[in-house]
Point group: C2
Chain length 716, copies 2
């Protein structure tokens, strides 16, 4: 007994001496320090000697540890927490400097270069250990908790993860309200210290929403007031673990993880061996370097898919926007309040004559897609069930295999294929995930049968299993199940209302894009502010491509209904620029064909622009203000440049030094017209051509919420 | 406006005059009266002029009515309730007198004879209507709520159903504690007035339990103290609706429905047209008539299955009881704490040498089954995952398709088939219902491939989707999904830890039996009282067959471990009697083959006894005391008689007047030995033969918790 005590004290003393570890980034600019203070783990982060994150606590609280025993109620139990009473028992260092090729991406190769420190922490009384693993890159820090399989830690339930990010001073923050069920809020720009006062008025209504008081979502973009250091806090590889929000301590400029609970309030059922997502802090004095960071992807595992040749960048149009604007069509086939799949005989319902996914209209879209070189046509509302799909907590809402009577699935697919176009499948689940899991295999088989290779999924409404949330562990697992099952059928997934990506498209490259933020459709719901798309690349897009669905030429809704005062808050030229500034290997031309036909000269840019890239250069960027990006098309000697601004008109000079030396190209510049303005004159644009070399500089003028797009091709 | 008011008043006056309706049973003995009192619906029930149930309220409270609108939280909303402000707008009467043949049953034909009253009730302000439908049989009353599809009632969420059963005086009650997750409690016998004081000590621990304070389960058996009227309160056709418990008002002798909630506390998501389960009240001065009632089946719909020829009565043995007694085997293959399906390589684990479902042991069981004419051999623990299957809230716990390394699924099935025996599949889900739904189709395909035709399912532990309960609406739908999917593959289901049946085997006849009560396994958990099986037929079995798994010959567990004082609380002869008294078309001989081999003379009864019947006569019965039943084997000139008693020894005279006239039969009587006693001398029995006719009377002596069994065959 005495020996045991002495050795325990010795161990504690030993660890006291050894309990501060330092880690530097490969370029030496970042330094991370880890230490145990009285058994509690802390880390901090410095950039060029200046503190980015002060000493911040690490750890998790548990509801149940090891086993959940016979007949117990999960809610009334607490396990021994994994946040204190630790001694350090091991430390391992490693480093890596490699490059890897994304299946689809912004560059041909991404560099993965870091130094690693893995600290093993033991709770002597419970005799159980966790590892905290830090990876310090030249763009910032990633760290995670690892839970090795061991005798005294096989199963546990997380009450909360309490990872802190304690900033030294106030920052300007680009944030949306924390929520368990939606990310479709308007970004807010305030100081951290001002978040609490803005929080309650920062969000509008959503089909499913559970706001978390005084919390914000990640990725969170920050800019330090004292010296303009840009800091991005996010998470990578959110797998088998709920997505997190960040609780705000606005007095101490501190954030803390807040995981999404399940129906029982539990925040993750863990079976060891297991790991948490990576917590990430990207920092740079240059905003452009934050945008260029690929850290979230580097922290995900390479894909295990053996064959990825079927994963294709895709440009598409859709039977879609017409359902959002007045008087142009509906998802539903009949105007009734109550249908039951397999019971309701649709051939006996009176068609409402507004159903958009009808043979004639889809054929017109196929013709348009074929004529203009699009890969695919999305058709929403093709299947039975849309009459009462929404807001009823109806579990068996769609079967994903039964077309409406006026949608001839075989004929339309045959017709599309005969013209070199594919139809894109639509799987709106109404957030009834259990039902989708029952049907998805049959749904994918149907897709294979008719030659679809991509599905847009949707999760509008409250989740079934009831009480689960869009970002709780069960749903995170669901999204992965869908991606993996789709991969078995060589199907690409574009998920809407799903969790924000955290770089997992590296591992599941057929999960080609997601919405998971406020997309173009909100232009007719509550509007997107002019600065919205200058913030999204710093937040939502850090973890993966967004199906933002740009390309609205007819921005004023009074075109459809003269009394409708809503409008898309950009100029037409800015809509073009979004194809470059909003990276996605899946891009929609969202507007109606009739609107493109009126502006075929401007439409040419959408037809030309690549969606997969060999290289990307962030020319200039400032969150909330502007973004200018140049990209080289995959496998082609072609470049595309896009620039956007917020509600302020701006001048910019495009410097073509990104081009190879001593070669001439023909640039086509699509810019705002001289009198263009997103409110008063959005459709004013000017197109001109110019020969350019890598010495060329072209000044551009961006209207209020305007932009420009430039295609750069070899001179003929 | 004035006109509207006047007509509303006129309507109310009109309904005041018309608002009492009376309904009589076909034999005139029962009378049901319905009336609206100030807009609130009430019913009462009389038997031969005496009140069985006093004026009792009807109605439901709602969380949300019609629509669940954009972005609302289900928990914080109340709809307009369906329990008041009604006017009667229509009344329809109907009657039926038919007989129908159950696929498997206690008689060749069941009689369905009732008078019906359907009252349409309208809430004028909301302009929406419900129907309350009453069916009065010669054995009692059934009634339900019907929700027709209509403009103002398409969707709603139930907060609670408040159907009352207001009894006029105190009754003796045979009850178990109300619970959302288990029915495996010991029955209690007290007056209604004494339930509250007994409630808290009435239940023991269970793998999943959520007791409902001061509530009891249905079917609830009652006996009126004043005049010994037997009353049974139950429910029939619990489909797409949660199962109910009964809240007790012990002062007023009143019960009220208490539905099982979901994870959000909601008690049913209803899309019209819909109906509630039937609420049933069976009453008779004779306990035997209660046992003979088929009302719960009559209130279910005939099956829609076109072919039912594959649904077969089944007598089986199993690799099962040996896992419950000490030192004889385990479900798991290796003694490790933590496995992951598809990751753990079982061929590299050290076998624990106790794994019961090994090739050699299963072959021995097949040999035994073949030798003694059993249809099937259940094998539990055949598949990967049992190492950590329990109590971990582990979702991916089994895949139902991967055998352990020492279970050669093809060889064993081939071997069984070569001997005219089938293996019975085991699908323990660990209550991870979402996981089972993902796998069950593959599991049924595997069963078809190898020639299994029946699966025992199990739901041990807390339900996943987490927060759902074993009897909540989602799980009720799950059990039906399983039955329907199994039927597609011509597979019979025997479900354990599932909801108590409510006669739905009429509609889903392949759901051949269920446990859903405290079965034989509890003899080694906490023990079953001697009166347990004299109560179950009056409660649990009213709604359908129970897989009670009788046939334990070696009742004393010290046979396996001399220090183990547990014992099965019956004599051996009573175990034989249970094959007759506990109706099921699926009967197990649960003991180890070695124990049968020591008593082959007594075992002969188990070999002989039928499991499907042309006719049944309840000779004598008293809940909590004794049951004597005679049954005629299906399609054979054979009868089987069984009698059991509680902790009291009893004499009984078996009157063979149920036999056809003027024909001689050979009866084999299996009775308790003279010194038999369930504690001191359980294995003492006496077997003798006697020629019998329909004039014969045979006295039998039942030991304490003893019984007797008689086979009656044509004399040779």
């Amino acid at each position: 007994m005495r020996n045991l005590k002495i050795s325990a004290i010795f161990l504690l003393m030993g660890t006291f001496a050894l309990n501060a570890q330092s880690l530097k980034s490969p370029d030496g600019k970042f330094e991370m320090n880890f230490q145990l203070k009285s058994g509690v783990p802390f880390y901090n982060l410095k950039y060029q000697g200046k503190t980015v994150v002060e000493d911040s606590k690490l750890g998790l609280r548990l509801l149940k540890d090891n086993t959940i025993s016979f007949g117990t109620d999960i809610k009334n139990n607490e396990g021994k927490n994994l946040n204190a009473d630790f001694v350090k028992t091991d430390e391992k260092r490693d480093s890596k400097n490699e490059s890897w090729a994304p299946i689809l991406g912004e560059k041909k190769e991404y560099i993965n270069n870091y130094n690693e420190l893995a600290v093993t922490l033991n709770q002597p009384k419970e005799d159980r250990s966790i590892i905290i693993k830090f990876r310090l890159f030249n763009d910032g820090l990633g760290f995670r908790y690892e839970f090795p399989q061991q005798k005294n830690l096989n199963y546990f339930v997380i009450k909360e993860e309490d990872t802190e990010f304690d900033l030294p001073s106030d920052h300007k923050a680009f944030w949306i309200a924390g929520d368990y069920d939606t990310q479709e809020y308007q970004p807010q720009t305030t100081n951290i210290s001002e978040i609490p006062q803005r929080w309650a008025t920062s969000f509008d209504g959503n089909a499913s929403q559970t706001p978390i008081p005084n919390a914000v979502q990640s990725p969170l973009m920050l800019k330090r007031n004292s010296d303009n250091l840009y800091v991005n806090i996010a998470e990578a590889a959110v797998l088998e673990y709920p997505a997190s929000n960040l609780e705000v301590d606005a007095v101490n400029f501190k954030f803390k993880t807040h995981l999404t609970p399940d129906a029982q309030g539990a925040k993750g059922y863990i079976q060891t061996p297991a790991v948490s997502p990576w917590r990430t802090i990207i920092a740079s004095p240059k905003a452009e370097e934050v945008l260029a960071s690929k850290m979230l992807f580097n922290l995900n595992e390479p894909t295990k898919y053996k064959d990825t040749s079927w994963i294709k960048p895709t440009k598409y149009i859709g039977v879609w926007w017409q359902m959002f604007v007045p008087g142009r069509g509906s998802w539903n086939y009949a105007d009734v309040d109550n249908v039951k799949l397999g019971v309701t005989d649709y051939t006996k319902l009176t068609p409402n004559k507004t159903h958009a996914a009808n043979n004639e209209n889809v054929k017109k879209h196929i013709d348009f897609a074929a004529k203009h070189g699009f890969d695919a046509v999305l058709v929403e509302g093709w299947n039975e069930g849309w009459e009462d799909w929404f807001g009823k907590s109806k579990e068996y809402v769609f079967d994903f295999v039964t077309p409406y009577p006026d949608f001839d699935i075989k004929m339309l697919n045959d017709y599309a294929h005969s013209k070199g176009v594919r139809l894109m499948m639509h799987h709106e689940t109404s957030a009834s995930a259990t039902n989708y899991e029952r049907w998805m295999e049959k749904a994918f088989q149907l897709m294979n049968k008719y030659g679809y290779n991509a599905a847009k999924t949707g999760y509008v409404g409250n989740i079934i299993p009831r009480g689960e949330h869009h970002y709780s562990q069960w749903m995170i697992n669901h999204y992965i199940r869908v991606a993996e099952k789709a991969a078995e059928y060589k199907i690409m997934i574009n998920s809407h209302e799903s969790v924000r990506p955290s770089g997992q498209s590296r591992t599941y490259p057929n999960w080609i894009a997601a919405e998971a933020a406020r997309g173009t459709e909100f232009e007719v719901f509550g509007g997107n502010n002019p600065d919205h798309t200058t913030i999204l690349p710093f937040t939502r897009l850090m973890g993966g491509p967004m199906d933002y669905t740009p390309g609205i030429f007819q921005t004023q809704i009074n075109y459809y209904d003269k009394n409708d005062k809503r409008f898309v808050k950009t100029t037409l030229a800015k809509q073009l620029a979004l194809y470059v500034t909003m990276y996605s290997p899946l891009q929609m031309a969202a507007d109606l064909p009739e609107n493109y036909e009126k502006h075929l000269d401007a439409f040419q840019f959408i037809k030309d622009v690549a969606v997969d890239w060999d290289d990307t250069e962030i020319l200039s960027a400032e969150p909330g203000d502007y973004i200018h990006i140049a990209r080289k098309a995959k496998g082609k000697d072609e470049w595309y440049v896009g620039g956007i601004t917020d509600e302020n008109a701006r001048n910019f000079v495009v410097d073509f030094s990104f081009l190879p030396k001593s070669k001439k190209y023909e640039a086509t510049i699509y810019e705002d017209g001289k009198a263009a303005d997103y409110i008063n004159n959005p459709q004013s644009y000017n197109i001109y051509k110019k020969t350019v070399t890598n010495k060329t500089k072209i000044p551009v003028k961006l209207a209020r919420s305007g932009g420009y797009a430039i295609s750069v091709k070899e001179s003929k």
